[in-house]
Symmetry: D2
Subunit: 354 residues, 4 copies
Amino acid sequence: MKAAIFIEPGKIILGEKPIPDIGPLDALIHITTTTICGTDVHILKGEYPVERGLTIGHEPVGVIEKLGSAVEGFEEGQRVIAGAITPTGSSYASMCGFHSQCGGQEAHGWKAIGGWRFGNTIDGAQAEYLRVPDAMANLAPVPDGLTDEQVLMCPDILSTGFSGAESGGIRIGDSVAIFAQGPIGLCATAGAKIMGATTIIAVESVPERMEMARKMGADHVIDFSKVDPVDEISRITEGRGVDVAIEALGKKQTFEAALRVLRPGGTLSSLGVYSEDLTIPLDAFSAGLGDNKIITTLCPGGKERMRRLIEVVGSGRVDTSALVTHHFSLDNIETAYELFANQRDGVLKIAIKP
Amino acid sequence: MKAAIFIEPGKIILGEKPIPDIGPLDALIHITTTTICGTDVHILKGEYPVERGLTIGHEPVGVIEKLGSAVEGFEEGQRVIAGAITPTGSSYASMCGFHSQCGGQEAHGWKAIGGWRFGNTIDGAQAEYLRVPDAMANLAPVPDGLTDEQVLMCPDILSTGFSGAESGGIRIGDSVAIFAQGPIGLCATAGAKIMGATTIIAVESVPERMEMARKMGADHVIDFSKVDPVDEISRITEGRGVDVAIEALGKKQTFEAALRVLRPGGTLSSLGVYSEDLTIPLDAFSAGLGDNKIITTLCPGGKERMRRLIEVVGSGRVDTSALVTHHFSLDNIETAYELFANQRDGVLKIAIKP
Amino acid sequence: MKAAIFIEPGKIILGEKPIPDIGPLDALIHITTTTICGTDVHILKGEYPVERGLTIGHEPVGVIEKLGSAVEGFEEGQRVIAGAITPTGSSYASMCGFHSQCGGQEAHGWKAIGGWRFGNTIDGAQAEYLRVPDAMANLAPVPDGLTDEQVLMCPDILSTGFSGAESGGIRIGDSVAIFAQGPIGLCATAGAKIMGATTIIAVESVPERMEMARKMGADHVIDFSKVDPVDEISRITEGRGVDVAIEALGKKQTFEAALRVLRPGGTLSSLGVYSEDLTIPLDAFSAGLGDNKIITTLCPGGKERMRRLIEVVGSGRVDTSALVTHHFSLDNIETAYELFANQRDGVLKIAIKP
Amino acid sequence: MKAAIFIEPGKIILGEKPIPDIGPLDALIHITTTTICGTDVHILKGEYPVERGLTIGHEPVGVIEKLGSAVEGFEEGQRVIAGAITPTGSSYASMCGFHSQCGGQEAHGWKAIGGWRFGNTIDGAQAEYLRVPDAMANLAPVPDGLTDEQVLMCPDILSTGFSGAESGGIRIGDSVAIFAQGPIGLCATAGAKIMGATTIIAVESVPERMEMARKMGADHVIDFSKVDPVDEISRITEGRGVDVAIEALGKKQTFEAALRVLRPGGTLSSLGVYSEDLTIPLDAFSAGLGDNKIITTLCPGGKERMRRLIEVVGSGRVDTSALVTHHFSLDNIETAYELFANQRDGVLKIAIKP
């Protein structure tokens, strides 16, 4: 089968691999649509290390080709998605509610490796076929009425974006600032809206993303290339600060700005994957006396999470298909990577079809 | 092998059964100690229906005899317990955090049958061997330093009792009333203590249980055969009412009394298995205006829960081995049932050893 | 001044009273708009007892006429609302977060009388002037851009309705059933929508209310005069049951139906003011084993609550002004009562202007 | 009256001041016992700026001398404490549940100055008399059976220490590490114990404090001058990390160590008052992917909080009087400061009596 394979830093190619074997708890999925994530670009650039020869990608939409001998509750031919994070369901972490930190079956305690397996520790979704581990915990059926594009954001982008709003504990009437409006930031904006925030402030500078931010629910969009977002958020909230700030970029300066705009008692919900040490400036932190929270969240996975996100999409509450700006066949995935990595042509997400 | 088998209402006998076969996700446990639960007496009396021929019992301590082909993370010969409730870990209910309501693998939605399988829908623990389903989610290793008796309460009594305190949301400085001081009520009392309640009021009339209530943490013990507990609790709390009332009997009148002693905003945490319709008297409920909560909780299971309870026992914070008032061999389990069902001889819990 | 005065069961008349005196912590409000609540009808009918001679009403919009000597932070001439419930802010209940159960300053413990004072224990808002106790905790400024009608639902209807959704702990992707679509039920429907529920099922039989339910966010509206709502909700949720059921009528049978439609682990959020004992049928309650919650909530008050609700209205997220179906001057309030009590002419709420 | 007055950095002297006047919402307290806090030493050294001429101290035990004209619910002659933080009860922050961030009555939004007033923005408790603002929200009666020394830790040390455990969300069976065992760290250790943690690890190097840590509930005490606490905590938890780490010193390196010992999904509960920018090392933070929380908490105040802490002390659950290692009269407070600031003679807390 064809698969997008990491060869070395700077090089992901379309290559040939055997169709995966499956064990008793696994499922084999025939991929119908997948996409490229910003994390994949980190892998491409060598900023996030994975083994050479690994198939990349963690956002699968497809059809069940084959089920492991111990798998019950699903049928071959069913249309499904699986989350980017694939918890076992039976680890200590999973049973404690931290599915994203599920590191496999372990006799003594937790391993901190996290539940991210596709395109990280096992072969991923940018291929014709995908082995889904712990299938009973991870396969989520897709209703007939929904297109692949409509559910394509569920495995990662929508799950992560919404979790930024959820971990922030947004309440009806909250004011929320979201730093960066890439795909995840846009879904965080949609998450703030759907949870009842009434003053939603998005920070971005790319015109297409600023416009999309309004569509996803932003009441105010700040162009940080023109004004200082900390000052502007202070102005909008009449000096009060926001209840929740969501960091959706992964940079030191946005992390600090997100701290600075919080009201006393406010929460910084961090979605970024950082690549440098962070600083907590004494003044931004009220010397530790501000009753503030900093919460980091890894994309929630598992079939119950996917089921809920499919419900959201199916209900029409949030339309993420507008984030799919480009389409490529798997054959042309190298070009797709080039376009996506350079953020050319107003790209947000690319639907890739084997 | 020998097993305690439900024949018909009024009759549980010690009989012979083949050692269970196991599937790929199961484990076979050689039981070293088990016990009888009040629920088993309901089964004996025909008040709770199960299939004829079923092996009874849901509180196993034992040694792993054999592991299913897909089970990882455990070894044969390991000493383990499993919870009374055995979630799959991979159901929608389980992944949503409601492990006790886990009804097996299901493609569409939840089944309300609950996660209680041992001695209810599959053969139970009052036998020489036990098949544990979904072993990776349910087996919890027991450290060498702990005796069987020390961990024997973890699968049900301690897990249920503590959950009464946990679902009540007990906070430091709370006042808590616990209605009935059988084994579960006593563990609820211990749970209130370990969570920081500072005024703990137990309601009971059996002298041995009243005395044990003090050992488990009660600051006040009310003999309901001598004084009205609602009046007495009002007196102790200076008219304020309690923050949390825990119902640990399963009767209509204790449920109502538990409602009546709540402060505005207080929580009734119900552990009882009821056998009749309940009434919410208008006045006890402030006509719906009291900001009150009624929360029911089924015994939490799964290996992470068992791990925590074993930690509690191992730390010496709570000593439940004092609840084991009698010992019997499995050969004499019919006598043990007779003693336990009639609550003779100050019995609290009986350790049964095959 | 003119005021709507309770004379005896069956009789509320427009009478004359002196303008209230105020104490150091109070404010005097010149009422510009108020309304009649279902609870006022209970008072009229003698179903809820208040003292004869009391001015009725608890939903004030007005202008500050005079401030008590110890009141800081407000100015005479400011446009404000106050909540139906007026917590002191300094009671044990208030400081514990249960503002609605605030019973005034007390040295020892809580009083269960609740924080509802206007038109209950002190003179109310259906008058030309209103004394607001504990003004610093209760006055909420209204921005110039909002009309009286836009904020008229904030003091009670919107606060109560939203609290039904909030106490239910609604999460993104939840299914929610709301029993009865009077003004409070309609606001509960809007609350379910704004908190992220994706399957919202309203139960009602009055055509105008069924239509309004759709406008407020219902995805399904069940006419209980034509089909059994329990069966129909089971059908819509494919046998799963709802995550949250909201009771917004205050009747025994809707309470029971709301219990029956819950999934295992689901929550019944009760907003009703009941006038009879309730029954919890054993089967609807899974004998106490369903991990269910029953939560009652009294309308949250206080200026912070009002501030948030004004934000919601100001943001355009929810438009409650559509609920104002009729207008009357205070001079004609007796006619307004007659119309409202008999639910004639499709009435939902009546704006009353002195 | 006599009062400990801040003159300039390095100089707090015992001077003369008039007995405070009180307003309608205030109370005048005749101080019977007070104490010196680490924060007072920061003020003494000029590290935390306050106005010259201010009376220092925020931990009062005393008797009501006089009540403001609008104060109800208390009596002159009553024995009381007041918290270090004195919320108004009626601010937006207070009514939102963030009493510690209560900045007084404000018309528009929150002020971030916090609710710490005694010895910070108004005259404090190291004096013969103290004006308590918003008395109805802040005075907490002391039962006759408790000595001044027994309740002396409630206003700050116990409230702060416990809040470290509470904000950490400690659950039954948790493992908790507490960095530093000064008075606040010791109370955090007691808080971890009273909330049900079963593996409590204290980090300290002063022998007397290490010994006291065991008395307050530590299962393990690590001498950081001899072993690396991060390694040692990893060893004790078998590589798992702790569920909650509490920082009780206010230093950059303990903050980082507390981050490093967390399990995936674990919480860093920070009590420190920092005086430098903090760093979040990328690896200690799992690049933002660890589902971790960092929560800072300012000492909770208000009469409901004090009531609960008095309950704890009165119940005998925690005995903080052992923390009072020295006694001085107010006349000798300058000597007391000298002793306390230099941590001579095994000092933990000093009872000061006017």
